[in-house]
Each structure stands twice: as structure tokens, then as C-alpha cells.
């Protein structure tokens, strides 16, 4: 059952899927990769993004991606506030590692349960014209349901990459992680920079959430499925490297898609996380990390 057609489509499907994974992981690449904050609640914010898209889509017919963009500033503010709490409670007192982790664990549950209380556990979906359409080039298909998330995610990744490398604030964010001295020389307050960066990371969750619900139905606890994957991608990508993160996301997507197509879909999680475990064991700095 091996054929060029199948192979090509498996790779394309993997690339598209991986592109979407990148949207979920990019916020973590900033928050976890650059700031070393283990925001395990990030996927829960993605689900909030998905529900925002669902609500505005089902009530007013807004396009989910548009909702994602509109919601991003609100998420940004929420992220800033959350970071304030985190900073006051943990970073300032040097308790961030273990307690911080547990803190975000708790936040994740609070978000999840609040969503369940408000909307129940039913699966929610959105309507958009492009869902269900397909572009075909030769024998390779590009379902728009996957292509739109991929494209938005690629643009988002490119945007964040340019922002981090070309702007003053962006380089300040990178300096927070790598070079405190340079940060001081720039005259920037690390707490404000981190707060800004954390807000940025959470803002991407609004967009990732809108992409998630374009792809398939969402209920409040599906975010958990993405915790492992998102962290795996950030680690594989070399902690904080945005291009590395994107490539790692594509690799994970392609691996899952290939295993699904040629071996048996039930093995894809084990293979994906096997890749992660192996990388961690052999090259803890990730595939693209600084050694």
C-alpha cells in the first residue's frame, strides 16, 4: 500500500498539521523557551480562544480567524495580569520552579472547569465557507480546513520571529533570557519586559484557539491533549528558537502523519513522544538549541 501519491499526501498532511501545532506551541516558545516560565496552562488558554471563536461565530457569524485576531489584545491583557500575579507570588521570592509549575497547573484546572460550568462538555464547532473545501495540485490535496490554520500559523510565526529579531522590545525579550547585562545597558526593566512577553505569548493562544476549532470540534478539556505536544515541540526546537520551534512542529506533524498512514494510527502518540524522550536523552538542548 506504499505509493508516491500516499507518501506525498502523508507529507503534506503532516506539514499542515505541524503548522497548526506551531500555533499552539509558539506562545510557549516565548513564555517557556525565552522566559523559562512553565506555563502548563497555555493549552487551556488556547481552548478559551477556541470558545471565543465559537461564541462569536455562532452568534454573529464572525470568521474564526478574525475573532482570533480581535481577541488577541484581550488575551494579551489577561496574560499581563497573570504574569503580575506570578511575579509577585513566585519570581520575586525565588519560588518559581516547583511552585510556579503547580500554580499554572491550578490555573489550568480553574480555566477548564469555568468553561465547563459556563458551556458544558458538549463539543463545539464553527462554520466558515472554507471549511470543507479542498485545493488540489496534481494528486496532492490541500484541505482548506488544514491549510488555513497552517497559513495563519506560518504568518504568525514569521511575524513573531521578525518582531523578536527586529524590534527594540523584541530584542529586549530575547535579552531577558540570555543576557541580563545587555538588558540593563538597554535601560529596560526586566519585569516589564517579561510581562510584555508573557502577554504576547498568551495573545497567540487566542489565534491558536481559533485555528483549533476550525480543524475540529472542541470541548473544554481537549487542551490537555496538547500539553505534551506543545512542550515537546518547544524542547525539540531548542527552547525559545522560533524557527527551531516551527521546524520541530513540522517534524512532529510529519512523523504523526507518516505513522498514521503507513504503520497504524494508534502508534502515533508513542512514536511522537518517543522522539521527544529520545531527543531529551541524547540532545537535551533540542534539535536546534544552543549547546
Amino acid at each position: 500500500m506504499f505509493s508516491a501519491d500516499l507518501l506525498a499526501n502523508a507529507v503534506v498532511a503532516g506539514v499542515l498539521l505541524g503548522g497548526f501545532y506551531a500555533a499552539v506551541a509558539i506562545g510557549l516558545a516565548i513564555v517557556f523557551g525565552q522566559l523559562d516560565i512553565v506555563n502548563i496552562a497555555h493549552p487551556a488558554f488556547v481552548i478559551v480562544g477556541a470558545f471565543t471563536a465559537y461564541i462569536l461565530n455562532s452568534r454573529f457569524g464572525f470568521d474564526p480567524v478574525l475573532v482570533g485576531l480581535l481577541a488577541a489584545p484581550v488575551f494579551f491583557i489577561a496574560g499581563v495580569l497573570l504574569y503580575r500575579i506570578y511575579f509577585i507570588a513566585f519570581e520575586r521570592t525565588g519560588q518559581e520552579s516547583l511552585s510556579g509549575l503547580a500554580f499554572f497547573f491550578g490555573v489550568m484546572f480553574i480555566i477548564e472547569v469555568s468553561l465547563i460550568m459556563a458551556y458544558g462538555v458538549d463539543y463545539r464547532l464553527v462554520q466558515a465557507d472554507y471549511i470543507g473545501r479542498v485545493w488540489s495540485i496534481g494528486f496532492v490535496d490541500f484541505p482548506l480546513r488544514m491549510l488555513v490554520p497552517f497559513s495563519v500559523s506560518a504568518l504568525l510565526t514569521a511575524g513573531i520571529y521578525l518582531y523578536l529579531s527586529r524590534t527594540f522590545l523584541g530584542s529586549a525579550i530575547q535579552a531577558v533570557a540570555q543576557d541580563r547585562l545587555a538588558l540593563q545597558l538597554m535601560g529596560a526593566d526586566p519585569v516589564r519586559i517579561k510581562q510584555w512577553a508573557f502577554g504576547l505569548g498568551i495573545a497567540t493562544a487566542a489565534i491558536a484557539g481559533s485555528l483549533l476549532i476550525i480543524i475540529g470540534p472542541v470541548e473544554p478539556s481537549v487542551g490537555r491533549q496538547y500539553i505534551g505536544r506543545a512542550f515537546a515541540i518547544v524542547v525539540l526546537g531548542g527552547m525559545g528558537s522560533i524557527p527551531g520551534m516551527f521546524i520541530a512542529a513540522l517534524i512532529l506533524g510529519i512523523v504523526e502523519s507518516m505513522v498514521s498512514t503507513f504503520a497504524g494510527p494508534s502508534w502515533s502518540p508513542a512514536v511522537a513522544f518517543g522522539v521527544l524522550a529520545l531527543t531529551l536523552a541524547l540532545r537535551p538542548a533540542g534539535l536546534f538549541g544552543r549547546t
Binding site: 484546572f109 490537555r224 521527544l276 536523552a281 537535551p284
Partner: protein
């Protein structure tokens, strides 16, 4: 706490548990107590690595499930009795714990935590694809007819769980307040400095991970008999992992009594909420309590009590 007092307290609790089975028939209480004890055992286990040694394990549910599935597999293959199943489950959990311990050679902090998460997912996928133990379909465990001199099987399971939990508490106390415990604390605080002070960090970490794994395996071993139907969803329940972290964090991770206090508090609250309000609240309570405690009392209840006793807020 003095040793004599400690052992006396353990013996008293165990005797009280036995006496309870003679007086109270009502099965509900044993069910509820069983779950609280299971939570306590898991919390104590998690704390051996997470609290004493400073390595966060997100994959507790994986170890718990290892124990549960050891029971399923061995019961099916050999029809072993419960005490033997518990023993083997402990060995299996301990061995996987040793494997986890070697991971600490290369992975610290968050990387380690993520690796445990990944490990749990890999184990789950293996179980899902292992049809002998029922795979994703799950597996039935018919309750055996014999239950020694107890009135019902659940009474016996409760006593078994009580015994296991008390044993775990004793081991945890031994690890905590000894030369070994100071070594583990040193590792938690600074691994390099610990090594340079002569602490064989790898060996101690292996002790820590294998004790944790064994305890969790033991905690999972009677579970199939308790629910009578195990599938990956129930055995790898995220809630198990969350409670195992939340209970010690709430109680206080530095001291052996911390996870016990946290587990009794949180576990009892959960059992009460389960039959009074809804279970959504149940999850919410864990979340809110966890966040509230670690932001307001990062050292947990034990730390809070200590601070109060010293009478000087810091």
C-alpha cells in the same frame, strides 16, 4: 516527632481501622476512605521524589496504572493472590522508577517534568495497544468471593490500603529524617554542591525514584479490584496525577507529614463535595486550593504552622 510516639500513632490508627470494620457495616464509608487513602499513598509517593528530592513527576498516573495493569495481567496469567500482586506491582513500579532515575542524569527541572509526562503517555499507548490486558477496551476484574474475616471485600481492601499507606508514611518519614533525607534535601537544593559534599547523587536519586515508583505501583495494584473494570481512561486518569501533586503542595513538601495532611484535607473535601455539590466543583476546588495555597502559603500547611509557632512572620 519521637519514634515511639510515631510508631504508637501508626499502630493506633491501624487498630482503629480494624476496629471500624467490626463496628460499621456501611460500605459507603469504606469506599470513601479507600479513595482518600489511595490519594494519601500517591501523595506520599510523589513527595519522596518531588518534595524531598526536588524532581517534579507529572507522570504519576503512569506509575499508578503500571500497578493496576500488573494486577490485571498477572491475575489473568497466573491468578496470583492480592498480596503477591501488590508485591509484584511494587517491583514493577520500582524498576520503572529506576529507569526514570537514570533520566535525571541528563534532565533537570522542567525537562525532567516533561519527560515524565512523555513517559506516561508512552506507557499509556503501550497499554492501549496491548490486547492481553484488554487494550483500550478495558478489562474486568470480578470481585473474589473470599474476604478473610471481613464482612465484605471492600472492608478488606480498605484495611489493605490502610496498611500500605501507613507503611508508605513510615518509609517516607525514614527517608525524610535521616542522613539519607539530608542527602536528598541537598540534592534538591543544589545538586553540584551536594556532589562536592560527597553525596552520591545518582545513587540517592535512584533510591528516590524507585521508592516513588514502587509506592505508586503498590497504590495502583488493588485498584482493579476496587473498580472491577479498568480501562486506560480510568487508570491513566489525569486527576490521579493532579492530586498527587496538589496534595503535597497544599500540605507542604519539605516534611513527611505534609503530603499526609494535604491528602487528608483535600481527599476528604473531595469525597464530601462529590456527594453534596457537583463534581465540577470538585475539580474547581482542587484548582482553587492549589493556586491559593501556593501563592499565599508556598510552604504549605506545614510551613504555615511552623511560621505561626515561631511567631515571627517573614
Amino acid at each position: 516527632m519521637k519514634s515511639t510516639v510515631f510508631w504508637g500513632a501508626l499502630a493506633t490508627i491501624f487498630a482503629a481501622g480494624l476496629a471500624l470494620t467490626g463496628v460499621v457495616q456501611n460500605e459507603y464509608y469504606y469506599n470513601a476512605l479507600y479513595l482518600i487513602l489511595q490519594g494519601t499513598l500517591m501523595a506520599v509517593a510523589w513527595n519522596v521524589l518531588g518534595g524531598f528530592t526536588g524532581y517534579v513527576n507529572f507522570g504519576s498516573a503512569g506509575f499508578f496504572a503500571l500497578g493496576a495493569y500488573t494486577t490485571v495481567a498477572l491475575n489473568k496469567a497466573l491468578g496470583l493472590p492480592l498480596p503477591l500482586l501488590i508485591l509484584v506491582a511494587g517491583v514493577v513500579g520500582g524498576l520503572v522508577g529506576v529507569g526514570l532515575g537514570y533520566l535525571t542524569l541528563r534532565l533537570k527541572g522542567v525537562y525532567f517534568a516533561i519527560a515524565t509526562l512523555a513517559m506516561s503517555i508512552v506507557i499509556e499507548t503501550l497499554v492501549v495497544n496491548w490486547s492481553y490486558v484488554g487494550g483500550a477496551k478495558g478489562s474486568y476484574m470480578l470481585t473474589p468471593d473470599t474476604h478473610l474475616w471481613f464482612d465484605s471485600y471492600i472492608q478488606m481492601l480498605f484495611v489493605v490500603m490502610l496498611l500500605l499507606t501507613l507503611a508508605a508514611v513510615a518509609i517516607s518519614r525514614m527517608l525524610n529524617s535521616s542522613r539519607l533525607g539530608r542527602g536528598l534535601s541537598a540534592i534538591r537544593d543544589d545538586e553540584v554542591a551536594a556532589e562536592c559534599a560527597g553525596v552520591p547523587t545518582l545513587r540517592l536519586k535512584l533510591v528516590s525514584t524507585s521508592v516513588m515508583g514502587a509506592m505508586m505501583g503498590v497504590a495502583g495494584a488493588p485498584f482493579p479490584y476496587f473498580v472491577t473494570f479498568v480501562d486506560p481512561l480510568s487508570a491513566f486518569n489525569l486527576f490521579i496525577a493532579v492530586n498527587a501533586i496538589a496534595m503535597p503542595m497544599i500540605g507542604g513538601t519539605a516534611h513527611w507529614i505534609g503530603p499526609v495532611i494535604g491528602a487528608l484535607l483535600l481527599g476528604t473535601t473531595q469525597e464530601i463535595v462529590k456527594v453534596t455539590i457537583s463534581s465540577e466543583m470538585n475539580v474547581l476546588i482542587v484548582g482553587v486550593m492549589l493556586v491559593a495555597f501556593i501563592t499565599l502559603a508556598p510552604q504549605g500547611i506545614v510551613g504555615l504552622a511552623r511560621k505561626l509557632r515561631r511567631g515571627r512572620p517573614k
